[in-house]
């Protein structure tokens, strides 16, 4: 018989291996499930997980989809590390885009190098402001940030609808609910002439490195980790949990807001009701798959970007419904949480049954 034995120390190897095991199990399950409901399971899984990686023309798209996931997930991971469960990143992402778009609409007739940075700052401020309310309520009144940040997501999305259908509707837009297209000074430049990859993509990687440095090498990062792991020890060591809560929520909101602005000023080029695509929720999966570590998040974001791009491919080749992507992403998170058990426990052979 087999039995679970607790490891004396968490397994380092399993820490890195278990996400890979989870990806493998997700592919296997996906194959079986989609096979069982009448699709070509193998082709579906290949299209979703493999095709985007082996076709170079898809790589730009991977980068563009990974960038917002990286930024949002970094902010979430820092929060999760501190035991602050901001799950309203989608709302902060939308508010960042709205704030940045506000600047864009004000400066629509102007030109200048400063416009994009101003939009970016507004985006950060918008996202941070949207995270400030949960922070205030948590620190002052111990109201769960889980519920408040999520509720505010619904509010943000409705606010977006209101703006694009009302005050911000493009007068020359044939009555479509959308803002004006951003001007050239308001659109993200590409990293190279003719490329789809905008400057937000390398920026996301740089931000991941900064986050890694702060978390692992500074007292501020130490504060985040210790507050999350052992609040009493943090207080004993002279760390202020409330300050950490404020910092991680503002940082998380700011990063999500920046991601929203970059998405608006990049691939979208305007705001429309289709703007919220759920990156804020997918980033939760990215954060966990990346083991809440900034470097891991870069890879995890790529994996999730693969499922987005691959999901589109599978729609056209295997006629898989678009919702299948969400299923795969959720399965991935389930398997990741399940395989986590291998980090702390090991399966051992028991010679003599009890």
């Amino acid at each position: 018989m087999f039995e679970w034995r607790r490891r004396r120390e968490p397994s380092k190897a399993m820490l890195y291996l278990s996400p890979l095991i989870a990806i493998g199990l997700t592919m296997l399950t996906g194959m079986l499930v989609f096979g069982a409901i009448g699709y070509d399971g193998l082709r579906a899984v290949t299209a979703i997980f493999v095709t985007p990686l082996i076709e170079p023309q898809r790589w730009a798209d991977l980068g563009v989809k990974a960038a917002p996931l990286i930024m949002i997930a970094l902010g979430l991971a820092i929060g999760f590390r501190a035991n602050v469960w901001n799950i309203g990143a989608e709302g902060q992402y939308v508010m960042g885009a709205i704030a940045g778009t506000g600047v864009a609409l004000l400066t629509h007739d102007m030109t200048g190098w400063w416009i994009l940075p101003a939009m970016a700052l507004a985006g950060i401020a918008g996202g941070a402001a949207w995270a400030a309310l949960p922070a205030l309520l948590k620190v002052r009144l111990q109201v769960s940030e889980i519920l408040t940040s999520l509720m505010l997501t619904y509010v943000a999305v409705q606010f977006l609808y209101y703006l694009v259908r009302g005050p911000w509707k493009d007068p020359d837009g044939f009555n479509f609910p959308q803002t004006k297209m951003f001007s050239t000074s308001q659109t993200l430049p590409a990293v190279a002439e003719g490329s789809l990859v905008h400057v937000g993509v390398p920026l996301a990687v740089v931000l991941a490195l900064v986050a890694w440095f702060v978390l692992s090498k500074t007292v501020a990062g130490y504060a985040v980790r210790v507050v999350g792991r052992a609040p009493a020890a943090a207080r004993h060591g002279g760390f202020d949990a409330n300050r950490v809560t404020w910092s991680v929520l503002l940082a998380g909101g700011g990063l999500a807001g920046l991601a929203g602005l970059l998405e608006a000023a990049g691939p979208f080029g305007q705001l429309t009701p289709q703007f919220p695509v759920g990156y804020g929720f997918t980033a939760i999966i990215v954060a966990f798959l990346g083991r809440l570590s900034p470097v891991g998040i870069v890879f995890a974001a790529l994996v999730l970007a693969v499922t987005y791009v691959g999901g589109e491919i599978a729609q056209s080749t295997v006629r898989l419904p678009s919702a299948a992507t969400g299923m795969f992403q959720a399965l991935l998170l389930f398997f990741l949480l399940a395989t986590d058990v291998l980090v702390r426990w090991r399966l051992a052979f028991r010679a003599r049954p009890a």
Partner: protein, 307 residues
């Protein structure tokens, strides 16, 4: 305003309150056993889609409700397997369950978008409810009565029965309960399953009674509001009833205002009200609680055995 309109408004209110009352009641029992399952929204969506699919294929709303309940239990068992069986983080797993519910319901429901069914009708024959005031008593569908009966049943179960005492004990101090010899994980699994069943049923109320038509993300965050309601109710079934009907009033206001075509409030702003109201209520609860003791079960969300 005539009596008929008032009665009609109250009927709408009760209908809006019922699904979150069910989901919140299930979550209350789960949380009383010390388990924080944030996947209510996901379980509701599983129930909603399973209920609709079965009702649509078989033509029986009753079978749909049963299927929804089972789907909710199944979703809850995924959560139980991960958190109770494998010791995963309850918050993260609950989020995963919600993401899963959104994905699964959207996938299964893809073939049903826009299809309609005959909605769940009133329980009693129409002549019982001929008079407008009698409609208040006899005009509801079976689930409304069931939800009210369940509030009473859960309240009695928790306060008066030995099983209820044991369930509370497990949520209060899992280590002590284990030391005395209670099977903490089994009890928590059962409580989680009950939460899933009611969430599934509540979800199906959307697709089988409120809007007898499938649409993506039909529950629109009501599962999260149900979670907030448990906090509002201070883990007491009776207060849950009040909270759910208050929420029903907010939702009914939103509907009535839209129907009345009030132009001075944008429809988007009206659509925000349930979510803003939830934040306001949570805030007021916290302000009120500062003087009193604690309400939440002491072991809520803590893993057992401790890791």
């Amino acid at each position: 305003m005539t009596a008929a309109i008032l009665v009609s408004i109250f009927m709408t209110l009760a209908a809006a309150a019922t699904p979150i009352l069910l989901a919140a009641l299930g979550e209350l029992v789960t949380e009383k056993a010390g388990v924080l399952n944030l996947g209510v929204e996901g379980m509701m969506l599983c129930g909603a889609v399973a209920g609709f699919a079965v009702a649509y294929s078989t033509g029986s709303v009753a079978l749909g409700l049963i299927a929804a309940t089972l789907a909710g239990v199944a979703a809850a068992m995924i959560f139980a397997l991960l958190t109770l069986g494998l010791g995963s983080n309850q918050v993260a797993t609950g989020l995963a369950l919600t993401i899963f519910g959104i994905g699964a319901s959207s996938l299964i429901g893809a073939g049903f978008v826009g299809r309609t069914i005959t909605r769940l009708g009133p329980l009693f024959p129409a002549d019982y409810a001929a008079h407008p005031w009698l409609r208040l008593v006899f005009g509801h569908d079976a689930i409304v009565y069931l939800s009210l009966a369940l509030v009473l049943a859960v309240s009695l179960f928790l306060r008066r029965t030995r099983a209820g005492l044991i369930l509370r004990a497990v949520g209060e101090n899992a280590d002590s309960a284990h030391a005395i010899g209670y099977r903490v994980l089994a009890i928590r699994t059962a409580a989680t399953a009950f939460g899933g069943a009611l969430a599934g049923l509540g979800g199906a109320y959307f697709s089988l009674a409120l809007t007898p038509m499938w649409a993506d993300r039909l529950t629109a965050g009501r599962g999260w509001i149900a979670l907030a309601l448990v906090v509002f109710a201070a883990w007491k079934p009776g207060r849950l009833l009040i909270g759910a009907y208050l929420f029903g009033a907010v939702a009914t206001f939103e509907l009535q205002a839209k129907a009345a075509g009030w132009s001075f409030i944008a429809p988007e702003v009206l659509a925000m009200t349930p979510y803003l109201a939830t934040i306001v209520v949570l805030t007021m609860m916290s302000l009120g609680r500062r003087t009193g003791g604690r309400d939440a079960p002491a072991c809520l969300g803590k893993p057992f055995p401790a890791s």
